[in-house]
Subunit: 160 residues, 2 copies
DNA sequence: GTCATTGCAAACCTTTTGCACGAAT
DNA sequence: ATTCGTGCAAAAGGTTTGCAATGAC
């Protein structure tokens, strides 16, 4: 199943006449098998043992390529860098505003959005990205917050 | 109406015991009266004539403050920097993948998203951000594209 | 053999920070 | 008077680029 996704994604590269280099295969494999929404740095560190001379620039270039092909999507969670996620099955993300954790939510009901947006905007719509913000269960417990009304206690503001 | 929004936003600053400085008022006014999704640089250039010694750092700090307060939201459109939008009324955005234009769409049906996401993820949900991607009417005309199937002609890829 | 891709390091550019001055409460 | 906010310039940090060498097709 994960292998199907990998094969399918590799086929997309071939279809676009993009060379299948070891770097691309290994990065793609990492993304297909890890759903931890890694940053560029995370991917780089995880793979440099397998690929001793791997360059950070190559990781950047490869991810950009995958994003352009629609294989992978970019995410921001409030920290400095960009995070990446293999987009084999449509889903959206819930981001913890306290710790930055990103959780996948598989929820098919967003399909109507594109047609609605197209109708209202006149755009030729190709896709969408939904991000939900909140406090993850762990941070709720850690901070002792169980209801929205308590959130103002948190100073999730510029003084962080 | 725009003045109401401004007054209301200024009141939020006071409520949070945040000082109402000329810089903050002017930047806020700019955002309330301009719906062109400006970048930091755009705001800075628009206001430096009114406020001769305005510092870019102040624009950054102020926008960050407004975002933390929920008065303003951040947007990315594919170019280098971040864009800002006064969030007086809930809406989402459609972004042109060709020219970067951002269009507002006022569509109330996304309210159920938060509860669904909360149920499925266990998060205490505070909000969401929806971004739709596509080709704006102008770029459709310019590129002679009127159907999704023609999009592959575009190489909106890393070779841009 | 050709041409895309890689690795490396330097360059880039947006954003942040430190500090002294000035202003709001 | 005190504390917060501003301006300036320098620094930081993520990302991109130029170029020679390498490797996929």
């Amino acid at each position: 199943m994960a292998e199907d996704m990998l094969t399918q994604a590799l086929q997309q590269l071939k279809d676009h006449k993009i060379r299948v280099t070891p770097q691309r295969q290994i990065i793609l494999t990492y993304l297909v098998t890890h759903h931890n929404h890694p940053s560029v740095e995370t991917i780089y560190q995880a793979l440099e043992s397998q690929l001793p001379n791997l360059s950070l620039a190559t990781v950047y270039n490869t991810l950009k390529l995958f994003v352009d092909l629609g294989i992978v999507i970019e995410l921001q969670n409030g920290d400095a860098g960009t995070h990446y996620d293999f987009f084999g099955r449509p889903h959206y993300h819930v981001v913890c505003e306290n710790c930055g954790k990103i959780t996948d939510v598989f929820e098919p009901d967003l399909s109507g959005i594109d047609t609605t947006a197209a109708r209202l905007s006149g755009y030729l719509v190709t896709g969408h990205n939904m991000e939900v913000y909140g406090l993850c269960p762990e941070c709720q417990a850690k901070l002792g917050i169980h209801h929205k009304s308590e959130l103002q206690r948190l100073n999730l503001s510029h003084t962080e």
